[in-house]
């Protein structure tokens, strides 16, 4: 169905065409590296530094990455790294949600002394570069025995994810009319039940959006796992495929990158229904 036009609007204009072309150009520019990674992942070691688009694709790289051959080449176990990352990131997201949802609710509903500075403080975790805190954290973790443990990893990744959860969900709670809970209070529900039964179900899209975003942020984190673990993470492991000792496996790195991008991708697809709602209502509005 043709789009309804405003009075005086023309269907095809030079400006419109130029705008479309610019958009296509931007897409090509931003998606080209991803395409390149896909192609590279399908190339043999002999072709890995060529720039040809024509070659005979092979799945060998993926097999190498996922099997013992990869381990002999690079000394890392890709499968266990990906599993570890999934666990650590899911753990961090879970902790952020369990603590962040009530925090966001309180921040959105109640105005108390210092509430604004507290929110700013939470956000400030996000604008301090990780490099700034990594040395003290490293020393502390070594002292108290959190180095190279899942608990330690979840602990630091949660610093990355919590501010996102709190800030995104706060605007959701603010947008939700207070009367809904007050009506429940008047009906005889307790404050806690009003929160759990009335407020919480309504912010489900926001929870989905913030959970996904924070999972991606945790997943992509490189600095914390690099310094604070030996077991590695997906990001650290991918870089190991670059190899050493004069031999670089770009094709293997690309294959590992493609595989490493899958979990967040799958997660995004599964909660897409909530996510689109989530991003358009509330989240970025505020």
């Amino acid at each position: 169905m043709a789009k309804e036009l405003m009075p005086g609007q023309k269907r095809v204009t030079t400006g419109g065409i130029l705008g479309d072309l610019a958009l296509v150009g931007w897409f090509a520019f931003s998606l080209f590296p991803v395409l390149w990674m896909f192609l590279l992942a399908l190339k043999t070691p002999a072709e890995q530094t060529t720039t040809f688009f024509q070659f005979s694709p092979t799945l060998d790289n993926f097999i190498t990455v996922l099997t013992d051959r990869g381990r002999t080449l690079t000394g890392v176990d890709f499968k266990s790294a990906i599993l570890l990352s999934v666990l650590n990131c899911a753990g961090a997201v879970l902790v952020s949600l369990v603590i962040g949802i009530p925090a966001a609710y309180a921040a959105g509903r109640f105005k108390f002394k210092g509430s604004d500075s507290l929110m700013f403080n939470i956000l400030s975790f996000r604008f301090a570069p990780e490099l700034m805190v990594i040395i003290p954290v490293f020393v502390i973790f070594n002292r108290i025995g959190l180095f190279d443990t899942p608990v330690g990893m979840i602990w630091v990744l949660q610093l990355v994810t919590m501010p996102l959860v709190v800030w995104i969900l706060r605007s959701y709670f603010q947008d939700m009319p207070e009367e809904l809970e007050q009506a429940a209070l008047l009906d005889g529900y307790t404050r806690k039940r009003a929160f759990l039964m009335v407020a919480l179900p309504l912010v489900r899209p926001g929870i989905a959006a913030s959970a996904l975003l924070s999972f991606i942020f945790a997943w992509n984190n490189y600095m914390f796992p690099l310094i604070l673990t030996n077991a590695g993470s997906i990001t650290v492991t991918i870089t190991k495929f670059l190899g050493g000792g004069g031999q670089a496996y770009y094709n293997l790195t690309a294959a590992a990158g493609v595989l490493g991008a899958l979990p967040p991708f799958i997660l995004a697809l599964t909660i897409q229904r909530y996510l689109v709602q989530g991003l358009s209502f509330g989240a970025v509005k505020g």
């Binding site: 009367e179 809904l180 009506a183 209070l185 008047l186 009906d187 005889g188 529900y189 009335v198």
Partner: protein, 371 residues
């Protein structure tokens, strides 16, 4: 649990009283004080009485309602429901029903579930029957399975009203219950509300800014301004015997005519000199030479020799006519209600008068009524 309103109630409406209730919203640092939304408010509402709080927006009427419901803390003073001090009781234990202006319907639930929600919390057995019963009374059976999003704002408002009514609370608080209805619906729901209120005997407070709603609904009404009750009385008292200039000006449609005048005592008679002529008044306490604000309701005025003016425009509303007169010697324009079909044209010279007991005098300084 003995100290809850719930247990005090014996299926009867309860009296509600407010005594010196005050609400200050703390804004800045503690020492600076804050905004005084409600100043020392006293109200005594008899069981089963329907009163309205009428006033312009921001006068504190909704704040008062929320304090009674337990959704705002009370800065000072006390609120008694059925003789029980409820200041420190949570909303659930006050057993009041509230109809919110913003409907407060729960989007994921159907109308039926929304109505049953409050009953479930109190573990009522025949919740569904009660919902069906009330829906029949309010003529909303056909929307029971709809989601709130599918309803028009008028329908939402009726559901919101039903939600407040369903628990048959001894005290019912309604914030602008008819505000979003169209004219025809408004009259129907207004009648139905009044009937239900009579039948179940709820002690009811209705907040409204619509004076005709207040006039037709209330047993008594409280006219509020700036956090203070200006006058509390029956609609007749409010209309015929306003306590001050604000009440006289706020209530009445078209609004009361206000003119500057000077009192002249002439033997037994008390006269007021307004620019275009002289009006006789029965206000006995007025002093000779006193400057006053003269109030004349359009409904009380009639065309007869008295105060001269030029017809600005005449509107015939079929049931009656309204003539607007530019009063000679001032820049004021007064409205006089006439019989329908009066033969008047713009530019005609005419005169109006009022019977002496319908001339209100007010102190021009503080608006107090001179009786």
């Amino acid at each position: 649990m003995s100290n809850t309103v719930l247990t005090e109630r014996k299926e009867a409406a309860l009296p509600l009283s407010l005594s010196k209730v005050q609400k200050i919203y703390r804004t800045g640092p503690r020492k600076k004080g804050g905004v005084e939304a409600v100043k020392s408010m006293d109200l005594d509402i008899r069981p089963g009485e329907l009163i309205t709080l009428l006033g312009p927006s921001g006068c504190g009427k909704t704040t008062t309602l929320r304090m009674i419901a337990g959704l705002e803390t009370i800065t000072s003073g006390e609120i008694l429901i059925g003789g029980v001090r409820v200041n420190d009781l949570p909303p659930a234990k006050r057993n009041v029903g509230v109809g919110f202006e913003s409907y407060a319907l729960y989007p994921p639930l159907s109308v039926r579930e929304n109505l049953a929600y409050g009953l479930k919390a109190r573990k009522v057995n025949d919740a569904m029957q009660q919902v069906d019963e009330l829906a029949r009374r309010l003529d909303m059976t056909d929307m029971l399975e709809e989601r709130p999003a599918a309803l028009s704002s008028g329908q939402k408002q009726r559901v919101s009203l039903a939600r407040a009514l369903i628990r048959k609370p001894p005290v019912l608080l309604l914030d602008e219950p008819l505000g979003h209805l169209d004219a025809a619906q408004r009259q129907r729901v207004r009648r139905e509300l009044k009937l239900l209120q009579r039948e179940f005997g709820y002690t009811t407070i209705v907040v409204t800014h619509d004076q005709s709603e207040a006039m037709t609904l209330s047993d008594r009404m409280a006219v509020m301004d700036a956090g203070i009750i200006q006058q509390f009385g029956t609609p007749d008292e409010i209309f015929d015997d306003p306590a001050n200039l604000f009440v006289a000006d706020f209530v009445g449609e078209p609004a009361i005519n206000l003119l500057d005048g000077t009192v002249v005592r002439d033997g037994d008679k008390v006269l007021v000199n307004v620019a275009g002529g002289v009006l006789e008044t029965s206000v006995i306490s007025a002093k000779d030479g006193q400057k006053v604000t003269v109030g004349v309701r359009p409904q009380d005025a009639f065309l007869a020799p008295g105060v001269k003016g030029t017809v600005f425009v005449y509107e015939d509303l079929m049931e009656y006519g309204l003539v607007r007169l530019d009063v000679h010697g001032t820049d004021k324009r007064v409205v006089v209600q006439t019989v329908a079909g009066a033969k008047l044209r713009s530019g005609d010279i005419s005169e109006f008068n009022v019977s002496s007991h319908r001339v209100y005098l007010f102190d021009p300084e503080d608006g107090a009524r001179i009786r």
